[in-house]
Amino acid sequence: MYYIGIDIGSTASKVSVFNDQNLVLNFSMPTGWSSVEVSKIVYEKLEKMNIDKDNSRIIATGYGRVSVPYADKTITEITCHGKGAHYLLGEDCTVIDIGGQDTKIITVENDRVTNFTMNDKCAAGTGRFLELMANSLAIGIPELAELALKGKEISITSMCTVFAESEVISLIGKGTPREDIARGVINSITGRVYTLLYKHGIKGKIYLTGGLCEIKPFVELLSERLGKEVISSPLGRYAGSIGAALMGF
């Protein structure tokens, strides 16, 4: 029996496959313009591995969870991220997930989500913000984080992503070094996470999930800002899909 978790995020779609108790495969692809399309592609990929509706239990999560017509059940990404983080870390924790369109803080106690906080509806402090800022600097997010390590402390004060972008453009215009701007961009994200996390409260270790956990300099700067060690693991990006698959057990 296969247990499949499909996490259709606003930016990336992640899939995890369990063969009985064993996690055998994780893959991801850009969500693109249509979550319906991407869910079809996922099913075709699964079929090639001889996995179909009859020999598996499929749980869909993420913002596009309703666009997976072949799913047995849909569960929100909050519950799934909590479950997945607990699986990856092996203990209760406070999860930080910086997603494409929202940032979440999730408390996991006894392998269950007991409480969570999400940022308000704008893009401030989300992955989308980082993506846009990196674009303005004509680099990718990993390079942005790398540069930020070398930069001086400056602050981007706009809470709004659109205004922050014009702030960045005016800093570029003034000839501010790219490292400093990068540092300012990262600071604005880590500062937002800081307030969300401390307003929410911390229980146990802090575990970062989502695509950003693969970027070491980012994890380093986030730990520094929070004044606490932030743990991440290579599979952190799949916490949502792993959690979804586990919810099918």
Partner: protein, 389 residues
Amino acid sequence: MRPVTMEEIEGLRGLNSVKVKEAHEEGKKVVGMYCMFSPSEIAIAAGAIPVTLCGTAQAPIEDAEKELPRNLCPLIKSSYGFAITDKCPYFFFSDVLLAETTCDGKKKMYELMGKIKPMHIMNLPQTSEGEDSLESWHKEMVKFKAYLEETFGVEITEEKLRDAIKLMNRERDAMKRLHKLNAHKPAPLSGMDMMLAQWLKGFNVDKEYGISLIEKLIEELEERIEKGIFAFDESAPRILLTGCPIGSGSEKVLRALEEAGASVVALENCTGYKPLDVMVDEDPDKDPLLALAEKYLKTPCSCMTPNNGRFDLIKRLAEEYDVDGVVDLTWVACHTYAIESFSLKNFVQDELGLPFIQIETDYSDSDTGQVKTRVEAFLETIEKKSATV
């Protein structure tokens, strides 16, 4: 299946807008109000019709933003937008408006609105505690009575005041008994229908007819309870909804909760139970205006400091309705409720031991997906809790 009386209650919507026009044409006076602090009894005693004014729909907000700042709470913008666009029949037919100095946003908006129609403003104390507050609020009742007497050229006798108090207490009592039916497990009425029935009462031109419809609904629901017909089954998580007022057009969080399978059993907000909790004292030896001052000052609104009454009420309702979680709705830019939410979270989680979520949103549909995710995730945490029991 929905109780049949709900259709008649929904019919009040069309009926009341016609009735208010007819009343106006017959030369009856109409007093438009916005808030649960407004003593409608004094308007009734003046032979006028007190009506709630519109302020729960997204449509007029764009027009309101031509004059008001965008980052203001949607309730204030909607109320003002309805007023300047003449889209609210109750506002249109109001002879005078009654307003109170509640939150900063409202009282500054009222300065602008007062230019459109005659408006009386009652100076609400910032605290409900202490003799000084009661004394000053009592004086405001005296002033409002004098204002209506002079404006409408009528005499408000003590007898008329006492009659009006009795009438409004009967309405409150009926509404309260209706709300309390949902303490039954499972709840006989959906939160959506409860909200509608409670919200529509404010527009009732004919109070007696309104009360008789609610009595009819209560009877129907009692029969349903006996037959075992409920709005939700036993497994639905029972939710207490608190925070900013909601009405038709601004019910999106309530709707999202019930569409996700929750049964919203207690509405603690001003459109729900909050104004029903305390009756006006009918003691014949008490000055009726003082009795009104006492009752309205006890409204546990976040514009009061401190606002301990709200916490007490939530605790009481959470126990009485045996709820599984508390949802605090705060409209964007409603500072008083938004700030209070932090204390409420600690109170609900630590003292009541219940799951809590604050949802901040506005009247628009722009964040429907995010609200849905929050609500579903919140209910998932509750389901898992009950599953372990």
